[in-house]
Amino acid sequence: MNFASWLLWGFVATVANAILLHGSQGLGLTRLNLPYILGMAVTPDRDKARLYGFLIHTANGWLFSLLYVFIFESLQRTSWWLGALIGIGHALFLLVVVFPVMPGLHPRMASEQHGPSASRMLEPPGFMALNYGLRTPVSVLVAHIVFGIILGVFYHLK
């Protein structure tokens, strides 16, 4: 494994992923704000949650990029389409598995079964995070495909 290449391009891919997710939120395509959701898991302070969430998201991205690197190394090849393919798998895993179970993992997220207690919690993302807007799956998919492509193009095998 090329440690330096992973460190560099894992970070770049994570930043690109964050920009795309944030950008699609800023453009009104989705209400999904992954750093905010992650940050709210560790603090109820909404302003601090964004900062902590960004740090957690960056660390997560780095760690997840390791998986991409392991796959590249095991196949002994890298390419943009291989990275994109893993990105699609990654996004689908998030949308279909992680988001729906998130209310059970996240201490400050309501579930679809919440109530009638007042929540003061994050609303649940629902299946494929559709509760945050119908374009959310597209935004997540695109952000992770780009994440994969960056790694697939720029990571150098050892």
Partner: protein, 633 residues
């Protein structure tokens, strides 16, 4: 109130229910309507805006129902168990008596973590309290507003299963149910004093269903739900006049909140008519920002700060997809309400066609919404709530939008579908939006707000309303700039702080509204229409507020309030409108708008009685409240 009736089979009575004959149960995710004759005639699962599985309310034959009632009934009395949303209907069926208890079980989140509960459940229990009673049960689910068939299957001791789409309904019963033609279940059981039948209907669409036991579990479930609701109602910090009606309204408003997101829907139903036999039938199972913002005001006034905070957060987050423009209505997850379509196969309530789902007004421009939203946000802040950076930015974007667009024509508060006009009420609410932003800015709660621009536009608005909305001939403000018609919503001008209630212009406007829009028994039409619809219930409560704010005497305000209480049903619930001739309820039911009007009127009466400073949105009073909150903390 006990209704005495000629002995008739309960199944026949079922078909004669009127809007005011219904009670509501719910769990803050969905709601069901049950008639005084024991028939559950409206249920949408899993959400308020999901397709109905019981819709006999809109078509007694095709809609589907679940009735539990004695075979012969002489008189009926019903009530909610004190300060709860647990409904009890008492049947006198000489020679016996029976009590039917209906609820959607509720529990704290902590309890739910300890005990697995069905995702969605209705519990019903009928108990013979004296003599003997023959009870008839009929379960006739009709998925998708009566368009589908449930396909019932007996699963032995587990109950009756109905697979509908990706969800499954389970009916568990202590009565021996017989399936007829695979579509409906029936049971006829004689109960002796002390005996009871219990039922649990549950729904699940995401995991294997949890099947709750009956017997002791049902008893505990009822007791737990009663305790939960009473604890919630006990949090109401209101000891003013008409407390019982106010708490009932708060409980009704709470039922219309969607807890997972914090949204508040306008009503639990669709297509209950504003005119019997007419086409004014709309789907209200969505979150209208205006209605919900008014609800926040009521909740804050009663001390329910968490619920109010939930909604404010929901509102400022959910509207991000359309920011800085606001849609007038959203689904409970902040998506645009669906397109309107007609369900032509349903005959409608008392043949009032068409039945509609979705809402065609979803694309309307109603500029007053900005004022309502801003007022709700300002009150939330004045009561001690705080905004994060994103919320502040959202408010500023909305304010800038108002500053740029207040001079545009819009559809206005009453959602007519005949084009846009320059509505006076919308202009007043645009002024309100800017006024509240200026107040927030002055209190240091909005950094970087372009206050000079807000002040300038606010002044332009004030002048335009003064110069162009006043009609000399009517001696009243008119519904549109340069218009000659009236609008009952203008009674709110004083509440928003635009013009004092005792000013000559507001006095003139009040007299004109009374003269031209007044109906029998102190009721008010929202505007003149031909053919006329019912009197609009909240407008009468606005009149109470106007009187309490100084437009009239305290005695006049109390007299009108008492008069309006006569039009609530025996459970304390209101629909959207009232037929002035018969007193019958019209429109969707129960209606948040009306109940929030009642709460607001009662709060204004209380403040007047106490000699407290009126208009709780004003900064001076808000400062006092904030200080009180801090002192309390």
């Amino acid at each position: 109130m006990t209704e005495t009736i000629a002995p008739r089979p309960g199944t026949e009575l079922r078909r004669s229910a009127h809007i005011q004959d219904y009670g509501i149960i719910g769990d803050c995710r969905s709601a069901a309507l049950i008639s005084r004759y024991g028939s559950l005639d409206w249920l949408c699962w899993p959400r308020f805006d999901s397709p109905a599985i019981f819709a006999a309310l809109l078509d007694p034959d095709r809609g589907g129902h679940w009735s539990i009632a004695p075979a012969e009934v002489r008189s009926i009395h019903r009530q909610y168990i004190r300060e709860t949303n647990v409904l009890q209907t008492s049947f006198d069926c000489s020679p016996g008596k029976a009590v039917l208890t209906d609820l959607m079980p509720v529990a704290s989140e902590e309890f739910k973590r300890r005990a697995p509960l069905p995702d969605h459940e209705i519990t019903r229990q009928i108990e013979c309290t004296s003599g003997s009673v023959r009870v008839e049960v009929e379960y006739f689910p009709r998925p998708d507003f009566g368009a589908g068939s449930a396909g019932l299957r007996a699963r032995g001791q587990l109950g009756i299963q109905a697979q509908v789409g990706r969800g499954v309904y389970w009916l568990r019963s202590s009565a021996p149910l017989r399936i007829l033609e695979g579509k409906r279940c029936h049971a006829s059981v004689v109960l002796e004093a002390g005996q009871k039948l219990q039922f649990s209907l549950s729904y699940c669409d995401s995991t294997p269903a949890i099947l709750p036991p009956l017997g002791e579990w049902t008893r505990q479930s009822i007791a737990g739900s009663v305790a939960w609701w009473q604890a919630w109602a006990g949090r109401a910090k209101y000891d003013g006049p008409y407390r019982q009606a106010v708490v009932r309204s708060a409980l009704a408003l709470k039922l219309l909140t969607y807890s997972p997101s914090g949204a508040i829907v306008a009503a639990a139903t669709t297509s209950l008519p504003e005119r019997i036999g007419g086409p004014l039938n709309w789907d209200y199972r969505y979150c209208w920002l205006r209605d919900a913002s008014l609800t926040v005001r009521g909740l804050l006034g009663l001390g329910y700060h968490e619920e109010a905070g939930d909604f404010i957060e929901w509102m400022l987050q959910a509207t991000r997809l359309t920011n800085p423009e606001l849609r007038i209505m959203y689904t409970v997850y902040g998506q645009q309400a669906p397109h309107e379509r007609e369900l032509k196969y349903l005959c409608g309530y008392q043949n009032s066609r068409p039945v509609r789902v979705g809402n065609g007004a979803r694309s309307q421009l109603q500029l007053d919404v900005y004022g309502e939203v801003m007022d709700a946000a300002a009150q939330y802040a004045f009561y001690g709530g705080d905004f994060d950076d994103d919320m502040r930015k959202t408010l500023l974007k909305l304010g800038n939008y108002v500053a740029a667009h207040w001079d545009s024509p819009d559809e206005g508060i009453w959602e007519p579908r005949n084009g846009r006009q320059n509505h006076t009420h919308s202009r007043v609410l645009c002024w309100t939006a800017l006024d509240r932003l200026i107040s927030l800015g002055n209190k240091g709660l909005l950094n970087h707000a372009p206050l000079d621009s807000y002040r300038e536009n606010s002044e332009l608005l004030r002048r335009q309303i003064h110069d162009q909305a006043w009609n000399e001939e009517l001696q009243s403000y008119s519904n549109v700039l340069g218009g000659s018609e009236l609008d009952a919503a203008l009674l709110l001008m004083s509440w928003y702080g635009f013009e004092k209630a005792d000013s000559p212009r507001m006095q003139g406007t009040y007299r004109a509204i009374r003269k031209h829009l007044g109906a029998e028994h102190g009721l008010v039409y929202r505007y003149r229409s031909d053919p006329s619809e019912g009197a609009f219930a909240i407008c009468s409560f606005w009149e109470v507020e106007y009187l309490a704010l100084g437009g009239g005497s305290l005695e006049e305000a109390h007299a009108l309030f008492r008069s309006l209480l006569r039009f609530q049903n025996d459970l304390g619930l209101y629909a959207e409108e009232i037929d002035p001739a018969s007193g019958a309820a019209l429109g969707n039911f129960p209606q948040a708008f009306t109940h929030v009007g009642l709460v607001g009127a009662a709060l204004s009466l209380q403040e007047r009685e106490e000699g407290a400073q009126q208009l709780p949105h004003r900064p001076e009073r808000a400062a006092n409240r904030s200080a009180a909150v801090e002192a309390h903390a």
